[in-house]
Amino acid sequence: MTASTETLHLQHADHQAHAGAEGWRRWLCATNHKDIGTLYLWFSFTMFVLGGVMALGIRAELFKPGLQFWQPELFNQLTTLHGIIMVFGAIMPAFTGLANWMLPLMLGAPDMAFARMNNWSFWLLPPAAALLVISLFVPGGAPAGGWTLYPPLSIQAGMGMDLAIFAIHLLGLSSIMGSINIVTTVLNMRAPGMTLLKMPMFAWTSLVTAYLLIAVAPVLAGAVTMLLTDRHFGTNFFKAAGGGDPVLFQHIFWFFGHPEVYIMALPAFGIVSQILPTFSRKPLFGYVSMVYAVCSIAILSFMVWAHHMFAVGLPATAQLFFMFMTMLIAVPTGVKVFNWIATMWEGEMSFETPMLFAIGFVCLFTVGGFSGLVLSIAPIDIQMTDTYYVVAHFHYVLVAGALFSLFGATYYWLPKWSGYMYNERLGKLHFWWSMIWFNVTFFPMHFLGLAGMPRRIPDYPLQFTDFNSVASIGAFCFGLGQLLFLYNVISTIRGGVGKAPAKPWEGAHTLEWEVASPAPHHTWESPPDEALVKKGLRAQSLEHDHE
């Protein structure tokens, strides 16, 4: 089976030769989905630390008014790089890494569909990250016009912008290849008996996310290519003086950008939909409606992009259209939240660390969803756009949403990955610590935004001082707390608090728990037999045909 799941190209190289490679070659030439998943996850954590240090740089400067640490130019570079690194370096690769690790295990496949392409998808990431870091040191510095790269600033910027554009090309290519792998694996490599509507929810959300990425990552690549040719090759896509239009960039960017928001949210939905049933000891409530919700969110996400542009002077009809379409997304999202609550309802809940993060996710993602609804109201958004209210909103969905789900996923599957149990007390401490300081950091930003503090500024008027100081203290405590996570993960890999059984969570019924812990290098080389698949489906109340 391993030999037959060869990649499209490179047929000539000997696959088996790498299987037993040790040391650095094991990683450089990795084709095993578990090794590649591990690489993705460590890369993503590294980027999280890098982007986090930049965030602390921003918060240090904003602790009090005036310029303390950085000149405005460098401050803007930190903001821009923080955004790009967190989005493309930390969150997205983490989800791809999880999909790599877990999809074959959950679906009963021996590996991802294209093992060598998988290797490429990963190894494009470190050079892209290097380009972004190097851009800080070239004349003119890193891009400073925000992660959205709006012209005219992005056309006028120095060569750091070119490096960022190439980095985005590489990141996009990596995403597209990773997504092709995910879609193919899900569509074509499931164990017999595992029909599409019986897959674990995480497989569904990974599938839909991968489709979204294949649809929009190329559009972003096109947009930054247009920037590049405007900068150097005399085209006038976005240059007003030459007859182009900077607002056109915003349309193209957000055609990518809004689906991108769901690319960072849907996999989180999937993770939470695995964790909540396990620790509620009940099947996921409303499985089919969850699938429909995921699909409708994905489709709607293509029709709302201009809610990021209410202030550019859209005609009233367009504003109304985008406003109502955006509000419509609240319906499937609400369905999901209600289903999660119904899953927990009257369940035999226990509160291990993954469950805590999943519940934290449901509560705080909902807060972010509500502030999103507020922003979707065009006349209100015109007041609030580009204020700290927006910063508060998207950190509720990205940090308390995407990031918390990733922490939950790590604690949930770490026993399977490492073969050891993590320290539960430390895990709970990590959760409560993050929960409290997250809110201390980001909740005051709502007030700052409502009071009119613009985002992306290194200095501010005196009346904003108190809430900013609170947010900065919160940010440093939050950041510090992440060392607990790192410590817990490393000590688990080194033996933790003891060996983990194959199925450490009694309420878990998906296939990954049927293989040993740690998961052996090769799993499901022959697909799980139908009786085993059926047993799991029955426990999840999925034995009947939904089709």
């Binding site: 092709i180 990552a217 190329p218 559009v219 056109l248």
Partner: protein, 166 residues
């Protein structure tokens, strides 16, 4: 190659095609956007609005230099006819007459003041500070969009720039 591998390859090729199509789609959005703006009447800046019969405004450019600044500025298009709905472009030549690098900024002002609402700057050398090397001479431009209706009594307007040290 077995059946699974063949199926995989077929799916991957299709998805690769979708990705390629979506890359082109980004570019298709460019003409589509133009068409849409024209159809919705959003586009305020198209030369074809400025037909031969459109009312015109006599637009004059004036330049000054702050006392003591070793810089000269020359108007290359001193007077232009700004037609309703059209686009006006004017060039200036700025020279640093000193032996040292300088950073300057151009401060614009309209007379009469209400002309500012009728002539909107799409692109202007006054948006940014200008860095001039020693003895450098540079041509710069301003691009203005003219309102689609001009009040008849307003026969002429002046746009004046004063160079200041930045």
């Amino acid at each position: 190659m077995n059946a699974v591998a063949q199926g995989n390859r077929r799916i991957a090729i299709r998805l690769g095609l979708v990705a390629a199509l979506m890359f082109s789609f980004g570019y298709v959005l460019v003409p589509f956007y133009d068409v849409l703006c024209k159809a919705l009447g959003l586009d305020q800046a198209r030369p074809e609005f400025a037909t031969a019969t459109a009312t015109a405004l006599r637009l004059e450019f004036d330049t000054n230099v702050a006392a003591g600044l070793p810089v000269t500025i020359e108007t290359l298009d001193r007077v232009v006819a700004a037609k309703a709905g059209g686009i006006v472009k004017a060039r200036f030549r700025i020279a640093n007459t000193s032996g040292e690098a300088l950073t300057i900024r151009a401060i614009p002002s309209f007379a009469p003041v209400r002309a500012a609402g009728l002539l909107q700057k799409l692109e202007c050398f006054c948006f940014d500070a200008l860095k001039l090397a020693a003895h450098e001479t540079r041509d710069v431009t301003v691009v203005l969009v003219v309102a689609q209706t001009l009040p008849e009594e307003l026969g002429a307007a002046t746009l004046s720039y004063t160079l200041q040290p930045a």
